[in-house]
């Protein structure tokens, strides 16, 4: 991977293991994420689904699914703010470090608890309800543990260091490393000193990104926002015969 060669002069200060964990693994995961999605979208439209199991079990899902999804939206928004926006920017618009921290801990805790509770219920029904368990496919068996690990590590790190602990400013370490990956100036040294829980959370998150295109998580990209604007009635013609006269099949089925 050319990513490794891109690592800056500071590479001398970090070990080979750190380079592997904080530069190579993230880039490989992101590459799998991108290529995997392109491959899946082109090759497996039929498998691209939420894979709903509400038909088989709805009592746990009634609470678990909305809790998980709404919590996840808030958590993702929090991560975007915390990871993508440098602390100098928030201070420039007049948000003090203390105010930011307080808001992040409170909002993050609410979102995190909702997401963990929801995911817990979804995992519980998957394990305890025999019908749902037998409908669990291989990709789910990878996704549920990986997602759970990421979420639990994340909320544990926050709880241990920022809610009950002395407070850890991840924006000057983890966030710097994360942004460095995307501007192609990896800074593995920024995360090397971070607490273990944050490091593990970051690693499982990248593994989750790598697994993403091969699981039901792809339904995230099909969020039907366009539905708000489209006409109610959809008419379609039978597969156009002239579209591909030389080929034996037209591109889209008319089912």
């Amino acid at each position: 991977m050319n990513a490794v060669s891109l690592s800056p002069s500071a590479a001398g200060a970090v070990s080979g293991t750190d380079l592997l964990l904080w530069v190579a693994v993230p880039y490989v995961c992101l590459a799998v994420f991108v290529v995997g999605h392109v491959w899946r979208y082109r090759q497996d439209q039929f498998g691209w689904t939420t894979h709903t199991s509400q038909l088989l079990e709805h009592r746990w899902l009634r609470w678990g699914s909305p809790l998980f999804h709404l919590g996840a939206f808030m958590v993702i928004a929090g991560h975007v703010v915390g990871l993508a926006i440098p602390d100098s920017w928030t201070e420039a618009v007049g948000i003090s470090e203390h105010a930011y921290h307080t808001t992040a801990v409170w909002a993050g805790s609410v979102a995190g608890v909702a997401m963990v509770a929801g995911l817990g219920m979804l995992c519980a029904r998957r394990l305890l309800n025999r019908t749902v368990r037998l409908g669990t496919d291989r990709s789910d068996k990878l996704l549920f543990p990986l997602l759970s690990a990421t979420v639990v590590l994340g909320i544990t790190a926050t709880a241990a260091h920022n809610v009950f602990g002395a407070g850890y400013d991840y924006r000057s370490t983890v966030s710097v490393w994360f942004r460095g990956l995307f501007v192609l100036q990896p800074q593995p040294e920024a995360i090397v000193g971070a607490p273990l829980l944050f490091q593990l959370h970051a690693l499982t998150a990248f593994l989750l990104f790598a697994a993403w295109p091969f699981t039901r998580l792809v339904h995230v990209w099909s969020a039907p926002i366009g539905y708000l604007a489209r006409p109610y009635l959809v008419y379609r013609r039978r597969a156009a015969p002239a579209a591909a006269p030389g080929r034996r099949r037209s591109a889209s089925g008319s089912r």
């Binding site: 039929f46 509400q54 099949r249 008319s254």
Partner: protein, 510 residues
Amino acid sequence: MRVMAQIAMVMNLDKCIGCHTCSVTCKQTWTNRTGVEYAWFNNVETKPGVGYPRRYEDQEHWKGGWMLDRRGRLVLRSGGRVKRLLSLFSNPDLPSIEDYYEPVTYDYDNLVNAPAGKDMPVARPRSVLTGEPTAITWGANWEDGLGGAPENAGGDPNLTGEWAEKVKFEFEQTFLFHLPRLCEHCLNPACVSACPSGAMYKRVEDGIVLVDQDKCRGWRMCVTACPYKKVYVNHVTGKAEKCTFCFPRIEAGQPTVCSETCVGRLRYLGLLLYDADRVGEAASTPDEKDLLDAQRGVFLDPRDPDVIAAAREAGIPEDWLDAARRSPVYDLVMRYRVALPLHPEYRTLPMVWYVPPLSPVLDAVDAAGGNQDDPDHVFAAVTRLRIPLEYLAELFSAGDADVVAGVLMKLTALRSYMRERTLGEDGDEAVLKAVGLTAQEATDLHRLLAIAKYEDRYVVPAAHKEDAAALTAMEERCPVESSGEPAEAGGRRVMLGIPTLRRKTTGGHA
């Protein structure tokens, strides 16, 4: 005027004997796969009864179809677009598997592999969902022939109003008839309108409503929106599936499987031309009881020169226009007006219509001490039929008993007249005149309903020749297979998920 053609169906309920051949052949053709064991694209219900899934007609509960809001606008009963997106995570109005039934298979292995013993080995039922032994407590037609009616039939959502008390009270004088149901391929399909992915669509050429299996993302809003509950979730593939009106057969000019195999010869297939521009207006008709006429107003006369010109302009081929003129569905729906839609009050403008059942009317005349040949006696008997007019009206005319009575009197007059003719008499044309039929029309209607020749029942024009290339390609692939490259070329055929675990658990146990 935007002319579109629709392949539509009419069923003559008088002739349905409830043999379920349509359901079984449909299942063998379309839903004998894992994940849709519980799905019946075609089923036959006993009425009165709760139906399948249980009480599906109770739209206060299931929120299917359309309704008018306070300002008279047509809205989906399950809510607006924003509400629908907010309930993506958990759909509050989705039937669960208990509302259908737990599909089962049997331990057939045990019949041949059981060790020698003094008792006959039996094949015990096993849940297909859990692989474990289970008790069968419900099915797609649990109430066949009023089975369990004392406990269940009172749950029929159509039994409302004062007259319903009478039905229950005189249960020893009970009645039943069979109601075969399939997707209505509506002009104003609620399922299509509710699909967040835009995966469901109505075909321009023949009006068949289909689910694009590649575009469906499993948001399951279609199941809620369909008031007839004829869209099913495949719990293995995570996609919605529904009656396809056997489109590969229709395109080849053949009747659907349910029609082809109908033992009672009660199904009719034919084209109806309709004005797509008037669909929304008709569905928004303020009074539910006017919906029937509003829907008839959407249909176009295939002999009208203006309609023919507009249809040509819309690209409808000549052989289709000819088929529309010969359509038995047009005759039953528009010319003789003896067919009625199922639950027009759902405002989806359904396209599978029914000739309501005429219970043994001449027996009723005799029982009342009347003269079978006296039209007054015969017509009076219609109002005293075992099947209450009010009940039929709940099903077929949004509660308007006069509409149903009109159709039944027409059928009664036809029966009375043709009976006289068959017995060698002249036939009393006064009876016919009273219901607006001429002698020639009566003969034609009798031929259509009673003689019911294959070529009269099914007038299905093949898809047009210019599309032949595309259709050839379609024919070569399995309708439930993923679209795209030929399987033999790329080897990237996407198989339907067969959960081997489930299959394994069903065998090997004693």
